[in-house]
Symmetry: none
Subunit: 218 residues, 2 copies
Amino acid sequence: ASARNGDMRREEREEEEEMGEEVLYVKVMTDEQMEILRRQIAVYATICEQLVEMHKTVSAQQDSLSGMWFGSLYCDPLLTSSSHKIAARQRWTPSPMQLQILENIFVEGNGTPSKEKIKEITTELTKHGHISETNVYNWLQNRRARSKRKQTSAAASNTESEAGIEIELPNDKKARPDAAFSHEKQPQRVDDPSFQDTEMNSLVHSLYPETTKLRAHM
Amino acid sequence: ASARNGDMRREEREEEEEMGEEVLYVKVMTDEQMEILRRQIAVYATICEQLVEMHKTVSAQQDSLSGMWFGSLYCDPLLTSSSHKIAARQRWTPSPMQLQILENIFVEGNGTPSKEKIKEITTELTKHGHISETNVYNWLQNRRARSKRKQTSAAASNTESEAGIEIELPNDKKARPDAAFSHEKQPQRVDDPSFQDTEMNSLVHSLYPETTKLRAHM
DNA sequence: CCTGTATGAATGAAAG
DNA sequence: CTTTCATTCATACAGG
């Protein structure tokens, strides 16, 4: 029972849903939307901070428990809430945390995924969830491949732009990003780390001091 | 396989400028930037969730504190912002015409859809509607996979009739280097194009039940 | 409105 | 490394 009437239908639907004047489907954010996003992120940040504060307060009175929490949060965060969680997915799924770290590693661009390194990374990531060296290896491999593919297709259709999409990754000593949103029409380098949000990193860091790697750019 | 069409976006944007009445300079995010943002939000979400869990645990023992807490945190950041939805990531829908053509191509069964071929097909299909190479690629891939699955399940039911055991739980484990035990619950990826609903709202809502308004405009 | 289903897309893993 | 496969995720629709 599938009505394949294509775009027309969808367009109508969307329009009726909300935006009246913006009929076009562009993957573009207006200033306003940017603002919304920024605010939403700010909300997260705020909530997290306050939760952390709260935790501190509470744990000050229950220190026996607090140690346990911080120690086990990432490895086994939800045991308490849902014991009916059986699940057991067959294929590994990186936790957001792991993803973030992997992404950073990728961006840092050591093009050399040495065995040694892999092992090291794996060890680090184990703190944030179940993972194996194979996972790390595969992830990096896939990431590389897909990034490359993207670049290729992008370059293909973007011939006239001499913009020198020097799409080779890493080593960007770009200024530290504060606010992070680019105003340029030209898309930035694909994996521009400058886009990453410092605020969050520091938040995460304050939560999980052992994850210094998150910010490690040197 | 995963490459999203980053360049396509740009083209669309220019289109917009052309036909646009006002110049409307918008800030553009590349897909990659969007993705990074999504992930960062996902990290926030995860942290928040876990903190919430923690809070529940704690407040179960100290309900006097928890009440105070819920009352004071929220500062109404999102209520005002509403109204504009970020253009959703839309998923391509083949027009009937395109579908027909694709079907034919599939039936012709050249099992190897070379890149060359894909490009060609895409060009052809563009005449019948908006489409990209990735779309074609995905479509064929999905078509193949699902066709195959159908056969498999058909065969399975066949076997079942003779064996009498129809337990076909997809529980079979592929050879995995690491023995799998139950994963931690992996919160789903926040992959919401609008950046505005589901995950975050429900998270916030769970934090601040009284702010139901948050969801009002969805 | 909410729930179920078809299907475009993303992605971990493996083959080539 | 590149390409392909298998599985999962998320969304567009249809039906209650």
